[in-house]
Symmetry: C2
DNA sequence: TCCCGAACCTACCGCCGAGTAGGCTACGGG
DNA sequence: CCCGTAGCCTACTCGGCGGTAGGTTCGGGA
């Protein structure tokens, strides 16, 4: 077992700090995602990263700091992916649609990132939630902007326009939950999941007008 | 601090085993829900239960066994709550509706139970998932039965009737995610959350017929 | 009344994993 | 060529928590 050098980052010598930090974060995301925060050991992370434990402490700090750094990096990547998917020259509805698809494409491609971002971070209390809250708020702001454009272009009335922020918050929450659910059902195509959520927005925007919606009779 | 006897089960002496087990499970659900599986210490559970640690090991076994016992008990309670909500004399749609409401009412009232059932159990791998899988399958079977009744009563065509099981699975998954999301948004009324999910079923049942649905043009 | 077993406890063990002390080595500037 | 410092490691300490040994007390049946 000790003979096999495995396929880890080739334990090269004397790499610049920047590169090492990247390797460590990659390893940490992977291990946190697989075992959860508490089951993940610093020893295993250092092993996967191909680096000794004190290096992690020297570069990224204690376990909590390391986890927070993971969340921060992945959250930034996610937001950039979404923002990149929204092409400003498209009509408003299409901007929203492509933003959604970019989101789900990210989750599908970076399952480990999403797992550590949402599932792990959410099940730990404390300082980790703050990092998530920050990302959520940025996401809600972005979605709200898209919704406003979409609503005004469709000529919805004042009351609907006023409640876009609430709808944006609901959308983001629904997206998180849906993505989380999707982790366990990878067979569903990304486009389908995205369109489900898009339908919810549709119903949300047209809630007052639409008569085809089911309403409890009692 | 040591003076205050708190409001825990009054550390009475010589109670029958049945009662002690119940107290221990209550404490365990609470502590697991608050701190998560790994942060929860057997010492704290024993303290909250008003019982010494060896009693837990004598009655419920090791930490994993205790956690599994929590999941099993809460899952059973949940299923009973749902089944109790479905009143057989109602029309099929209404049975589904009341089942949904019973589900969300349970989650709303027993937040700790749901937290330990879903969030904690799902973020731990291993034997815990099995307990969840068992409950899920029971739930899917139940929902499927309700869907079939609902579909036939509305006279949907053969293809729709064939895919009820897939729809049931999706519904259960959506319900789990939605309930999980609801934990973080307690201000939304239970009836509203339930009706959202009901709308999804509506759209799922009528997917071929309905023209009001948003579809991507590209 | 006596005694047996169930209920219950205190006080301990040992492992595992977070975090550290202290030092070695190679690259680059002078 | 030399030495300062950034990169890197081995080999520990130590505390917390899962788990247990070995009792003591009470209730109830014979």
């Amino acid at each position: 077992m000790s003979v096999d050098e495995r396929s880890r980052p080739t334990r090269a010598k004397r790499l610049p700090r920047e590169v090492r930090e990247r390797q460590i974060l990659d390893a940490a995301v992977r291990v946190f995602s697989q075992h959860g925060y508490h089951n993940a050991s610093m020893d295993e992370i250092s092993d996967v990263a191909g680096v000794s434990k004190p290096m992690i402490y020297a570069y990224l700090g204690h376990k909590e700091d390391l986890f927070a750094a993971c969340i921060r990096r992945e959250a930034t990547l996610l937001m950039e992916a979404i923002a990149g998917g929204v092409r400003a020259e498209l009509p408003p509805d299409m901007q929203l649609w492509h933003g959604l698809r970019a989101f789900f494409r990210f989750v599908g491609a970076q399952r480990e990132s999403w797992r550590v971002l949402h599932r792990q971070a959410i099940s730990q209390g404390g300082p980790f939630s703050d990092e998530l809250l920050a990302m959520r708020n940025r996401a809600i702001t972005l979605v709200d902007a898209l919704l406003v454009r979409s609503a005004t272009s469709r000529g919805l009335d004042e009351t609907a326009r006023k409640s876009t922020e609430a709808l944006a918050a609901a959308l983001v929450g629904a997206g998180e939950s849906l993505a989380d659910w999707w982790l366990d059902h990878p067979d569903v195509p990304e486009k389908v999941v995205a369109s489900w959520l898009m339908n919810l927005v549709w119903m949300g925007l047209g809630d007052l007008v639409d008569g085809s919606v089911w309403t409890p009779s009692e």
